[in-house]
Symmetry: C2
Subunit: 256 residues, 2 copies
């Protein structure tokens, strides 16, 4: 048992390992998917897990998250405006801190505190496996969170819990912010944006009311001038994300 010790005593403190774990979400053909890597070594060998890794001695937490993301997906992320921001990269995904997990027994080998980050990205090609992960894949979150009748194999460590928190954060945050555009390519149509909301929330939205809402919210969407028919049907106007970050009034999620 440790007796009470001085705050920040530099000579004696219990050492912890600190890692970052990434909840990387994207929308692939009408469903919300998370990036998973397969563990190639014990513990939880062969299980699927969230990508992540150790924080290095000289890097910040967001910096570590951003580095791991680049290593595993090639994505460059821009942090939400705030602390520990990393310079905006080329093909930008949204990155924000999610929460920190530190149960004493969450890793059977040693005391590990993991800072989870949430990444929202547009649809990407199938990920390349990197590092010590023997493979990587996009998995629909509905199969992972027990929302479908037979939920799949559980994730390694407490990653199922972390994933659930990340999904919940994404679901609530697109309600009152313009974050849903992070799931879209640089130019997108109102219909594509609507399908993002539908995939993340798992509901159907009225196309007419949705159109009125998003085009009527100042600063949410900027017309880019062009049109496209890539979804079939009548050509749709293309937009880019506007400067607004907070939606007031929010998008309302049905029933909830």
């Amino acid at each position: 048992m440790i007796v009470a010790m001085s705050r920040y005593d530099p000579s004696a403190f219990p050492p912890f390992a600190v890692t970052v774990d990434l909840v990387v979400l994207t929308v692939r053909d009408h469903s919300l998917c998370a990036l998973l890597v397969r563990r190639g070594e014990p513990p939880y060998q062969g299980y699927w897990a969230l990508p992540g890794g150790f924080v290095r001695p000289d890097e910040g937490l967001a910096e570590a998250a951003s580095r791991e993301l680049a290593e595993e997906t090639g994505l460059r992320a821009h942090s939400a405006p705030g602390h520990e921001a990393v310079g905006p990269g080329a093909a930008g995904a949204h990155l924000e801190q999610l929460a920190t997990y530190g149960h004493p027994q969450r890793d059977p080998r040693m005391r590990v505190v993991s800072v989870a980050y949430l990444v929202l990205a547009p649809d990407l090609p199938t990920p390349r496996a990197g590092g010590d992960a023997s493979s990587a894949r996009w998995a629909p979150v509905s199969e992972l969170l027990g929302e479908s009748p037979a939920d799949g194999v559980p994730l390694a460590f407490d990653h199922g819990l972390i994933l659930a928190d990340g999904v919940e954060r994404a679901r609530s945050k697109i309600e009152y912010s313009s974050l849903a555009t992070a799931f879209c390519p640089p130019e997108f149509t109102v219909g594509e944006l609507r399908r993002v909301y539908e995939a993340v929330w798992g509901v159907a939205l009225d196309p007419r009311n949705f159109h009125r809402k998003v085009t009527g919210t100042p600063g949410f969407l900027l017309p880019s001038g062009g049109t496209t028919t890539r979804q079939g049907g009548r050509p749709a106007q293309l937009f880019t994300a506007g400067g607004a970050t907070v939606l007031n009034p929010p998008m309302l999620r049905p029933d909830s």
Copy 2:
């Protein structure tokens, strides 16, 4: 320079110190106040800082936050329903994880990652100083965040940033949850609850519309039967917090 190392390599990992810091907020005569302790030793000797301390090897993060809170204020907190919950205590304050701060140079002596927790408590007697803090006090956040013309002495470490994040979280969270009741004693009147909103947001609210809103939201308030005149004027009905945690539709903050 560290070369790429295996994920969770148990034999070689950079050691970090992990601490918890507490943003303890309360409402004292019409203003939102934060609990500060004075540092008795370097670095930042003599500066005001957030209460906090090391996480012990065998305790969880929320557990450490709860323990530090009890040590410094005597408060027992119940965590929000969720992970790492601690058993509900007697005189309950709300406790939830805020964010984690890990700039490599945030502590001049060593690499410290600090997990910040947000505590919302009803008005308390002047705090007793505990541990190695030579004194403690409630400070109005408006004096600390540069919202008033002359902001006071800056806080130790990055605690000014952490405090700002905590205040922002509290301000936004009372909008869409029933969390404002955490600032109230077990029984309270609609007027007392309104003064909580006014203090936290720094605005004046219309008493009639506020009354209609909170009494019309199912599950927010439960009439306890009694009345009180402790605020002067006509006796007001007493309520306790209802079971609802999410307000739908939310309380609307003026202008913002």
